[in-house]
């Protein structure tokens, strides 16, 4: 699910980057903020950082005595993406194994759908490995599959989520 969040951050601008006339502050702040936002991949609470929407306000700058940098407190709104337990989402299959498939759901590359959570689907090899049910519905590389999120886990070191998926329920599966 996408989330719109209002965040207060501090943006630091080195003294040498400041325009001598002090006119281009907004541009300098925005560029630094975009840079900081872009390098922040994800957080546990908000999910994957997708886009900066609006720079709402720039507070008064304070000079850091030790380094000469100027710190501007800013408030901005951003868009993030996070999967929640129990949410219905869709993903694209990127790997097929005998025990299950790995899907990509938006920016999350690590969604695992076990064969035990694919009722009525069996593993077959028809040229490429895939899962198929009696109605000839196929789950293979490139298929888009609607699933329910069983659980998610945050991996602090990699700044990533891993998720478990299930097709147990009505109207879930490839579409």
């Amino acid at each position: 699910m996408f989330i719109k969040v209002k965040l207060p951050w501090n943006v630091m601008i080195p003294a040498e980057a400041m325009d001598p006339n002090g006119l281009m502050i907004q541009r300098a702040v925005l560029i630094r903020l975009l840079d900081a936002f872009a390098s922040k991949k994800a957080t546990k609470d908000l999910g994957y950082f997708i886009a900066l929407k609006n720079l709402e306000e720039i507070g008064e700058g304070r000079i850091r005595e030790t380094t000469g940098e100027i710190v501007f407190p800013v408030v901005f709104s951003g868009i993030t993406f996070k999967m929640f337990k129990g949410e219905i989402v869709h993903g694209v299959v990127r790997q097929v194994h005998k025990s299950g498939v790995f899907l990509r759901c938006g920016p999350c590359e690590n969604v695992y759908l076990s064969q035990y959570k694919m009722p009525d689907y069996d593993y077959v090899v028809q040229g490429n490995p895939l899962f198929m049910n009696q109605n000839m519905s196929r789950i293979q590389i490139g298929s888009t599959v609607r699933f329910i999120v069983l659980d998610i886990q945050w991996k602090e070191a990699e700044k990533e989520f891993i998720a478990l998926a299930s097709l147990e329920g009505n109207n879930l599966g490839p579409f």
């Binding site: 699910m1 996408f2 989330i3 719109k4 969040v5 209002k6 965040l7 560029i31 975009l34 840079d35 936002f37 872009a38 922040k40 991949k41 994800a42 609470d45 908000l46 994957y48 950082f49 997708i50 886009a51 929407k53 868009i79 993406f81 929640f84 337990k85 129990g86 949410e87 219905i88 989402v89 869709h90 990509r104 759901c105 938006g106 920016p107 035990y116 888009t144 609607r146 329910i148 999120v149 069983l150 329920g169 009505n170 109207n171």
Partner: protein
């Protein structure tokens, strides 16, 4: 003799295996547990038995409790509008190498490009907003918009947290779904 021996054997067997018999019975009833939980030991299996003896509870969305205060859910169609707008602006601004987009931007846009089924997020919000009066939460509203349900049965299947309010919600939900069906984008 063999009988005696058998009996004796039986009785000794019974006494030595007495306490385990009930354990065996317990495991037989819930052998599904063994398949799914081979990594875990027998501890906690009693607790698991009580949850598996009834049908497993449907997963419920609890986004509203998990989101921080200053955050709000967005429908996929709303997110698409915002992200597409940013992409168009970046096309103009991309000559400046200092302007960067986050790594996940393209994947995020790809997700909503494919998944959304409504073209006009403002109309969708106008149609679903009145459901809040009947106790539908913001996140439940977003899930309804994201799954493009065709019937109220689908809504209750995808959002089990709303089942409890079925009586109150069914009528306004039917009305909303009828209006939403007119907004669906053509495939």
């Amino acid at each position: 003799m063999s009988e005696k021996g058998g009996k004796g054997f039986k009785s000794s067997l019974k006494s030595s295996y007495g306490p385990r018999e009930s354990k065996y019975t317990f495991l037989q009833d819930s052998d599904e547990q063994i398949q799914g939980s081979s990594a875990k030991g027998g501890k906690g299996s009693k607790a698991r038995k009580s949850t598996l003896s009834k049908e497993s509870q449907p997963l419920e969305l609890k986004t509203d409790k998990e989101l921080p205060e200053n955050a709000k859910c967005l429908m996929d169609c709303e997110a698409f509008e915002i992200l597409q707008g940013i992409k168009e602006q970046m096309a103009v601004l991309s000559e400046d190498p200092s302007l960067k987009l986050p790594v996940s931007f393209d994947r995020g846009l790809e997700y909503v490009k494919y998944g959304r089924c409504y073209m006009n997020p403002q109309s969708v919000r106008q149609i679903l907003e009145p459901l809040k009066k009947h106790g539908v939460s913001e996140s439940e509203m977003c899930v309804i918009a994201n799954v493009c349900p065709e019937s109220i049965d689908e809504v209750f299947a995808f959002v089990p947290s709303m089942k409890g309010r079925k009586d109150k919600i069914s009528e306004p939900l039917e009305e909303a779904l009828m209006k939403l069906s007119k907004l669906k984008r053509s495939a």
